[in-house]
Subunit: 162 residues, 2 copies
Amino acid sequence: MSQIDAPEDKAVRLDAMDRKILAELQRDASQSLDEIAGRIGSSKTPVWNRIRKLREAGVIGQQTVILDPEKLGFDACFFVLVRTSEHEAEWQQKFLAALRARPEVLEAHRLAGEIDYILKVRVANARAYDAFYQALISEVKIFNVTALLSMEEIKSTTMLPL
Amino acid sequence: MSQIDAPEDKAVRLDAMDRKILAELQRDASQSLDEIAGRIGSSKTPVWNRIRKLREAGVIGQQTVILDPEKLGFDACFFVLVRTSEHEAEWQQKFLAALRARPEVLEAHRLAGEIDYILKVRVANARAYDAFYQALISEVKIFNVTALLSMEEIKSTTMLPL
DNA sequence: CGTGAAAAGGTTTATTC
DNA sequence: GAATAAACCTTTTCACG
């Protein structure tokens, strides 16, 4: 069975210039090609060709804008530790679908160890969290839930350290 | 003492059109003004004026690009639960500065309750996590640390549900 | 593989209704 | 407020060294 380079392939070989371009794009994706080229000591066309390749390879994904949650009234952020008794495929499918469908769940990870899942949930206030929580446990059976309330966001970045 | 509208002010009043614009920018910040205007049923000029205001108000922050961590060799993601015995201002300053200085710490929150802090840390592998952990505890005294290893990223988004 | 120019399209400002 | 238009940049393609 043959295998072509698919976008899902893990790890891509990058040189120093690719890394510089990625770092610049992470820092400020609104920069022009000339600006990026200037900063990293290259020029327009090579930068453009590399960006195109990095996009095709799936290294560069969504281009987005970071909004200020508090200015938009999302005043509460919870980390939710979930333990479950159920480990059947069917239950898991239902649980994952529920998480993906709920827009207040910004992150969800399946974990190794005692705790099965961790969620990061952003909502307007504690009441909105409770509504989310009640809705979730009514959809899927969960053994144990611990909610950790964030008092202060010390740091938050999407920038990987290249 | 008078008070001017500063960028740090909490909560901003937005109408339905502002929200639609923000939703489009979150979804895809590379769209042209015409594209956004078309999708939300408006036109260039009003969309442009609103985006400018939202930027000035600090609602719209960094424009960035989401990179694929695995394609870049960041194969390990940990959530780190930190308990401390120290609660003096000086200790806290040192701890926060350490977290902010370490680029592998993508998120850090101060929590209410038993656990004092939660961190999200992205590194190449378990060994790199250990190096990070050793460096951190050598910089600041920490009472208790639990690392939760992510086995699977079920969901990860920066998009707030507008 | 980089350079530079040309074509197409986007942003930003100013003016008008 | 919104529409239009003009000036100015940027992106994208392409032909050439």
